[in-house]
Amino acid sequence: MPSLEQPANLACGQVYWRSLDQLADTAEFREFVLKTYPASMSELLDGAIDRRKFLTLMAASLSLAGLTGCRRPSIKILPYAKKQENVIAGLPTYYATALPRPNGSVPILVETHEGRPTKIEGHPNHPLTQGAADAWAQASVLDLYDPDRSRTVVFGGLPSTIETLVDLLATKSKSLAATGGEGFRILAEPSDAPSILLLQSHLKRTLPHASWHTYTPIDNANAVEAGSRAFGTPVKPQYKFHDASVVVAVDCDFLGAGDGDIAQIRGFAKARSTEAMNRLYVVEPHFTLTGAMADHRLRLPASSAHGYLFALAKSLGVMGTEQSTWTPPGDLKWIDEVAADLLSKPGQSLVVVGHRQPVAVHALAYSINAKLGNIGKTVAFSPTENSEPAGSIQSLADDLKAGKVTTLVILGGNPAYDAPADLGLGELIGKAETVIRLGLHVDETSELAKWHVPQAHPLESWGDCRASDGSLLAIQPQIEPLFDGMTAIELVARISGYKTHSAYEVVREAFKSFTANDDFETAWRRFLHDGFLEGSGTKPQEVTLSPTPLVLPDPLPPLSAQNLELVYQRDSSLDDGRFANNGWMQECPDPVTKLVWDNAAALSPKTADAMGIKDGDMLKLTLNGRSVEIAALRMPGQAEFTVAVPLGYGRKVTGRVGRHVGFDAYPLRTSRSPGFATGLTIAKTGKTHKLVRTQDHHTMEGRDIVREVSLEDLVGKAEEWSKHRSEIEERGALYPQPEFTGEHQWGMAIDLNSCIGCNACMVACQAENNIPIVGKDEVALGREMHWIRNDRYFSGEEDDPGMVHQPVACVQCENAPCEVVCPVNATVHSLDGLNLQVYNRCVGTRYCANNCPYKVRRFNFFNYNERPLDQLRLGPFAEKGMPETLQMQKNPDVTVRIRGVMEKCTYCVQRVERAKIGVKVAAADSVPGKIPDGTITPACAQTCPAQAIVFGDISDPKSRVSQLKANQRDYALLGELNTKPRTTYGARLKNPNPKMSQPGGHA
């Protein structure tokens, strides 16, 4: 008889908490966790539906239901009229293409079903992605199907036709040619795509008076500019985190949204998982994902980064730093010990600086890396692409002001929304006679333009682009433009009178310079097939530091409550605002703040308390006479007297999803200080705003949930853990165990040491498994539907805590508590150890979710797929039906769930079954063999840039997952409950410098 007493809880020696409320153990927090589903029935009153109205609605819907039930619906089969090449109905086809981005494009592989792109994966063969993709790439497929995309050409606010536009472009082209392009300006996002360069040089040749300007709000221009300054030649850095054993990141979020890159994440994760583990020092103003991985983290305002780095350089003996007098607040070890650590690993260390910092700081970092002998080892410099020199947005604004511009073409971007506030571009754009705007959505910029032209999504276009390593990528259409969109290439080709107007021909033409003429067709076909050109990445260049004097940090008045620092943050969900109308990104909780459907001004708890500011208080931020209103958020780990505001929110003109969500900080951002600014003052307006955060949702109160251990304590801890595990196993189970007689026994290992908490898995899962979004109000009630969530824990002190991330999906317990309470057997075990959820059996009692200790089950409280999110409570009076384009995104291999059904992670059972069927079909008339290890990859594991998630057969001791589970760091989440989860975690390792104190309370 197994023992019934509560099993011993393993003390983890560290206090982990999710929110300040939890740390303070406030009444609100306790009330919240008492309810598994923090919603009560009182919400029905919100909709103001009284009893009589309710009965009327019910009667109406019943009678309607009766009418439709009488006939067998006639369903049609529509076969292709002619056989389509490569299309086998029912099987996905994969094509390589790319998603262009201003700061390094992403090579991808697109899964299409009968011509519908449904899922994006990282390109498996490209060295940069190796099959991984980030959350933005995953979410791009939803942008393609966004029903709010602009559908027609708009002229002066009225719908026009593409033919009228083509005529206009032809006339314009003639008149421009006559004047040599006098008064003609193009504003685009920066691009090093060969096709765009080709058109630029054509433009320069034929229309010498025209000019091309580029702008994007967040770029790496400072790093490139510093390259030119430090080395006297235009170069940009490429970091090799894989080879760095000591990394110092100064205001640089190289793992997160700020300066992140898939290759960097993978390199860092690799260097961290080896036995000779790397050490990460992070100096930053607000918590980032990089700060969360740090062994040592220093909270420092962004404006002090220069001073810090200068002092560090001085300690390292970098030439020209002798005059520095800067001292760090409190702890001198941050200079001396860090310098000593860096010097102990010459050629294996790395100092990185983020995009926010000015050129001088980047140049300083290059000098430090040169001093440490890192150049050519952990950081290489490669030449920037030979591009036609483009004008800035500043010079365009000047030209507009001077009335020199008659025709302005704006390609993509959204300058009216995100251009520096001091330029006043909003008023200036109207000064041009003809403004033609190409954009995916009708947005703030389109409002100011006479012509708006719908843009083709990259998944609908021909094009080319370059990845961050410089390799040439092909963009090829996966589907015909849904809304008759035009590409930027076509528009420029037309207006500049290029010899061909077809984007395909222009891209082909541009590709000619990459290949010998005689075998062009072969090379071209190979390029399209592969999606990238092998060996086209930029080669590192030998650089020598030019003896330019280093710039001394400006002496700054100390920060105070009257002189705050404002830091602009690249948002992990919306980027610079381009994903504002993407529901997946809006509902994806920020990995650090856990905010959904909002942004907020983050202040440290101490600063906030001193000023009497609470979460959700509306603040008026004033900087140099400009002001905006924004909600406040107390964020642990924030530097004192700094305010961090994510950009990209508060969009006024966009689709239904993104309109009026959050607060716009661009009106404060000027061209002089685009990264951060001091001199900010804040005042409470007296109003409050409801902020929704998922940080307290699904808590597994106070147990040993995340394990963190320092490298030196690992052996001792591991023994303790294994003893604890065997104690649990001896206790036995209360219920009979299911039989596990299947051919394979599936399991998963998640390495917390690699996981950086980037959310890519969440969005990948959403795309693969047809998971709906529920909207801000429903998330507030704890009803988000994500099958995999990304738990964020703080550890240690309130002001300066550590941070750990833990992705949690259904852990597929062998002794599953959910199964025993289901009255209708809707959740049962398979022979290969999967905890199955059978939608057609589920009657929605929610007993399973209540009995699940991991809180991973999600219930469809409403018909989220069929109803608009603002009409969920209107019953039969709500509009019904999913927009057709959104239907096209759905994965046909996964059931779309309706209201009243429980759902949860299935280990991507559709992929498991596809592999099983594949083996059987291949075996035909012989006995099928086992599925080879690595054949099946769930969506989360596939996209993980850090390769933290591994899935496989745990009955095969040679499989990767078995080997990971044999690791001494492996532990079961809530193992003391003896649920025997199939997903286990690898404890996170820390590698602190013994001579310094550690974040998260380890003194």
Binding site: I75, P79, Y80, A81, I88, V909, Q910, A924
Partner: protein, 217 residues
Amino acid sequence: MPQVFTPSADVWLGRIFLSLVLGGALLVTCVYYYGPPEYTRVGYAPSQPVAFSHAQHVGQLGMSCLYCHTNVEQSPHANVPTSQTCMNCHTAIKATSPLLTLVRESYSNGNPLAWERIHQVPDYVQFNHSVHVNRGVSCVSCHGKVNEMTVVRHDKPLSMGWCLDCHRHPEQNLRPNEHVYQLDWKPLLGQTQSEVGKQIQQQYGIKAPVECSACHR
């Protein structure tokens, strides 16, 4: 206070009770008979836009199922042929027949023919043709003798219970792979279906899954 029940109450109460019982029984019988897929689906034979006869093409002319349903061995779906497939022959044979007007139109203008769907499982069921036809399950097991049908009719219930019958006792429907598309195939004289099926089951290593995830995912 007047009495609630008059002397006649016995009679009318009894009648009400009896009619409730009989009515209830009738209702149960009706639902039991008309409700299951055996009644609602089996026998469904809608008329199609083009009067294609399987009896003629397969039964009399001996065409293989695979000539038209080309993807059945690779894909979950047994595709309905393209108009182009029809025209492979019908550009030469019966090239001007009025019965084929719609096919010729579809072929020339590229719009698909809208066939009436007959076999249909619910949206939460993921059936896979390829794994059945590659592993000794003939078309006839689920679709009946299509080679004898002038108008295709729904022949088997395709209900979950019916699927599971076979998944629990696959030997009743297994045959050598080379006979999968021969709808008239019968075991050799002296052998029963069970014997052949059991032998194939062993030889092919067939373990028909009965877990929920085999079809529901």
